[in-house]
C-alpha cells in the first residue's frame, strides 16, 4: 500500500481543486439542470411524455437498431480482429489504421456519405434495389449508420487480448485431441468473451446516443424511422423543453446504467488479462 499522504510533490490542492471546479462547471452543474427541469413536470405529465406512442416507437427503434448494430459488429469485428492479429495479407497495416476511421470521421460526414452510398441509385444501394431492398431512408439505413459508428469498438477491445493469447494453450488443447472448432469455441472464445462483451456494450452505448449520422440516412418519420435523440431534437425545435428533458432523463438513466455495466466489464476483462499473463 502507498502512503496515505504524499507531501513530497506539490500541487495536490491546486490540481484537484481545479479538476473538481472545472468538472462541476462544465459537466455536473449543467447536467443537474436536466433533473431540475424535469421537476417542473408532475409525475403524471412526466409519465405521459415518456410513454407516448411516439416515444415508445422511438425507444423500440433506438434500442433495437443499437442492439442489432452492436451484434453485427460483435460478429464481424471479431473476424476483423482475428484476421488482423493472426494472418498476413496485402495492405494489412493500412486496413488496421483505417479501422479507427469512425472515431475520427465527423458523424455528419459519415451520415451524408452513407445516405448517398446506400440510396437506391448509390454505389451500394443499386445492388440491393433490384432485390426490392431499400436501405437509405428506412430502418435498415439506421442500422447501417449505427454499425459504422460502432465498428472500431469491438475490434479495438478484442485485438490486444488476441495478441496476448498464448499459443501454447491452443497447442495443449490440440495435443489433448480437440479439433480447431472445439479449440475456438471452448478455449479461445471464453478468453475473449469479457473483451467482446465490453466492446459490445461500448458500441451499444455509443449507438444509443448517436445523432449526426442517423439524421441523414433516416427519413425521420415519427413512429417509423425516428430515433430517440431525434425525437428530443424535434421537441426542442418546438420549444417543448420539458418534454425534451423528460426523454433526455430516460436516456441518461440508461446511459449511466450502461456506464456502470461497462466499468464492471472492464474490471472483469483486466482481471482475466492479468491471470492470463501471470
Amino acid at each position: 500500500m502507498a502512503a496515505p499522504k504524499n507531501r513530497v510533490l506539490p500541487g495536490f490542492r491546486l490540481t484537484l481543486g481545479y479538476t473538481i471546479l472545472y468538472l462541476s462547471l462544465i459537466v455536473l452543474i449543467p447536467l443537474a439542470a436536466v433533473f431540475w427541469k424535469t421537476c417542473t413536470l408532475s409525475w403524471g405529465q412526466f409519465y405521459q411524455v415518456i410513454t407516448s406512442p411516439q416515444a415508445l416507437a422511438a425507444y423500440r427503434l433506438s434500442f433495437g437498431a443499437a442492439l442489432l448494430a452492436a451484434a453485427l459488429n460483435a460478429v464481424f469485428g471479431l473476424i476483423v480482429a482475428w484476421v488482423l492479429v493472426r494472418y498476413q495479407f496485402f495492405g494489412k497495416k493500412l486496413v488496421d489504421a483505417l479501422v479507427d476511421l469512425p472515431f475520427a470521421l465527423p458523424t455528419a460526414v459519415a451520415g451524408i456519405t452513407l445516405a448517398t452510398l446506400y440510396a437506391p441509385d448509390g454505389w451500394i444501394g443499386q445492388c440491393f434495389a433490384p432485390l426490392g431492398i431499400k436501405i437509405s431512408f428506412t430502418r435498415l439505413g439506421v442500422l447501417v449508420a449505427l454499425t459504422f459508428i460502432g465498428l472500431p469498438f469491438i475490434v479495438r477491445t478484442v485485438q490486444p487480448i488476441l495478441e496476448d493469447f498464448d499459443p501454447e494453450i491452443e497447442e495443449a488443447a490440440a495435443s489433448l485431441g480437440a479439433n480447431r472448432w472445439q479449440i475456438f469455441w471452448r478455449v479461445i472464445l471464453p478468453t475473449l468473451s469479457p473483451a467482446l462483451l465490453t466492446g459490445f456494450a461500448l458500441a451499444f452505448a455509443r449507438a444509443l446516443g448517436e445523432y449526426g449520422s442517423v439524421v441523414f440516412i433516416s427519413s425521420n418519420i415519427p413512429m417509423k424511422t425516428q430515433i430517440v435523440p431525434l425525437l428530443i431534437m424535434t421537441k426542442l425545435e418546438q420549444f417543448d423543453y420539458a418534454g425534451a428533458t423528460a426523454l433526455a432523463v430516460v436516456m441518461l438513466v440508461f446511459s449511466f446504467a450502461l456506464l456502470l455495466a461497462i466499468n464492471v466489464l472492464q474490471w472483469w476483462t483486466n482481471r482475466y488479462n492479468h491471470t492470463g499473463l501471470s
Binding site: A97, V99, A104, V109, Y241
Partner: protein
C-alpha cells in the same frame, strides 16, 4: 510436451497440425469476409466522399470552399477548437497530476465522472446548456425568463446583449463538453504507470514544483499529451449533434463546418456538401496518420527502454 517437441526441428510434426491453425480455405474466407465488411462500411464511404466532392470538377470544389459562408464556418470551427482544446488540455494535465501522483478517497468516482461526457448523447450534451443558459433556463438570460436565479447576471447579460445560446459562446461550451475527457483519459493511465519516483527525486534534489513539472513530467508525457490533443481536436472540429442544438443555425454567424455541410445537403447541393465534408474527411485522415505516427514513436521508445 508437445510444445517442447514441436520446437525441435528434427522431430516429426505434431499429431494435430491443423488443430492450431486454419486451413488456407478458411483463412481466405475469413480475410474475404473481413475485407468485404470493412469495404462496405469503411473503404467505400471514404472513397466516395472524395469522388462526390469532385463530381462537378475542381472549379466547383474551390468555389464552394471559398464561399464567404464556408469561410465563416471554417473560422468558427477553428475558434471553437482553438478554445476548447487548450482548456481541456490544461484540465487533462491537472486532473492527471492529481489522480496519478496522489492518493485520495473517491478517486474512482472522479474517474467515472470525468468519462461521463462520452456516454451522453450529443443531443443531450447540447440540451443541458440550453437548459442552463437558454431563454427559460436556470440563469434566465433573456427578458422573458421565468425566474432568473441570478438577476444581476441576467441583467448584465441583457444590458450588454451578450448571448450564449444560439451564439458563439454556446457552440464553444458544447464543444468543450463533448471533448472534455479526451486529454485526461489519455494522460491518467500513462502518468499512473510512470509513478512518482522521478518527480520525487527531482524535488529532493531541490527543483521547485514548476521546474519538476516542466523538466521531468512534461518530457515524459509529451507523446501521450499530443495523442490526446489530436483526438480532442478531431472531435472538436467534427462535432455535429451538440453544436446543432445550441447553434440556432444562423448562416455566416453560428455555423461550423459540419453544420454548413448539413445546410448544403438540405438544399440539395450535394456536391457542395461533399466538398465541405471532404475537408473534414481529410482532417480525419491526417488525425489517423498522426495517431499512427505517435503509436510507432511510442513503441520505438518502449523498445529502446527495454
Amino acid at each position: 510436451m508437445t510444445t517442447a517437441a514441436s520446437r525441435l526441428p528434427q522431430m516429426p510434426p505434431p499429431a494435430h497440425p491443423r488443430s492450431t491453425t486454419e486451413s488456407p480455405f478458411v483463412r481466405g474466407l475469413l480475410i474475404g469476409v473481413a475485407l468485404l465488411f470493412l469495404g462496405l462500411f469503411l473503404f467505400l464511404p471514404l472513397i466516395s466522399v472524395f469522388v462526390q466532392a469532385f463530381a462537378k470538377g475542381i472549379g466547383f470544389y474551390l468555389r464552394t470552399l471559398s464561399d464567404p459562408m464556408a469561410w465563416s464556418a471554417i473560422k468558427l470551427t477553428l475558434i471553437a477548437a482553438g478554445i476548447s482544446v487548450p482548456l481541456n488540455c490544461v484540465f487533462g494535465v491537472a486532473a492527471a497530476w492529481a489522480i496519478a501522483k496522489f492518493d485520495f478517497r473517491g478517486k474512482n468516482l472522479l474517474l467515472t465522472l470525468i468519462d461521463l461526457p462520452f456516454s451522453i448523447s450529443p443531443v443531450i450534451s447540447g440540451l443541458i446548456y440550453v437548459l442552463v443558459f437558454g431563454a427559460q433556463g436556470w440563469l434566465g438570460l433573456y427578458e422573458n425568463a421565468d425566474k432568473p436565479w441570478f438577476p444581476w447576471l441576467a441583467n448584465w447579460l441583457n444590458d450588454h446583449d451578450f448571448h450564449i445560446i444560439f451564439a458563439v459562446p454556446g457552440i464553444v461550451l458544447a464543444t468543450i463538453f463533448v471533448t472534455f475527457p479526451f486529454v485526461a483519459r489519455e494522460l491518467i493511465p500513462l502518468m499512473q504507470a510512470q509513478g512518482r519516483t522521478e518527480e520525487e527525486a527531482a524535488r529532493v534534489l531541490g527543483a521547485s514544483g514548476w521546474q519538476t513539472f516542466w523538466r521531468v513530467t512534461l518530457p515524459n508525457i509529451k507523446w501521450g499529451l499530443l495523442y490526446g490533443v489530436i483526438l480532442c481536436n478531431a472531435r472538436a472540429m467534427g462535432e455535429f449533434g451538440a453544436v446543432s442544438v445550441v447553434s440556432g443555425h444562423i448562416r455566416g454567424q453560428t455555423n461550423t463546418i459540419p453544420l454548413h455541410v448539413e445546410i448544403l445537403y438540405d438544399e440539395y447541393n450535394f456536391t457542395g456538401a461533399f466538398a465541405m465534408a471532404s475537408v473534414l474527411a481529410f482532417l480525419a485522415l491526417v488525425t489517423l496518420a498522426l495517431k499512427l505516427w505517435i503509436e510507432r514513436k511510442n513503441a520505438a521508445l518502449h523498445a529502446a527502454a527495454e
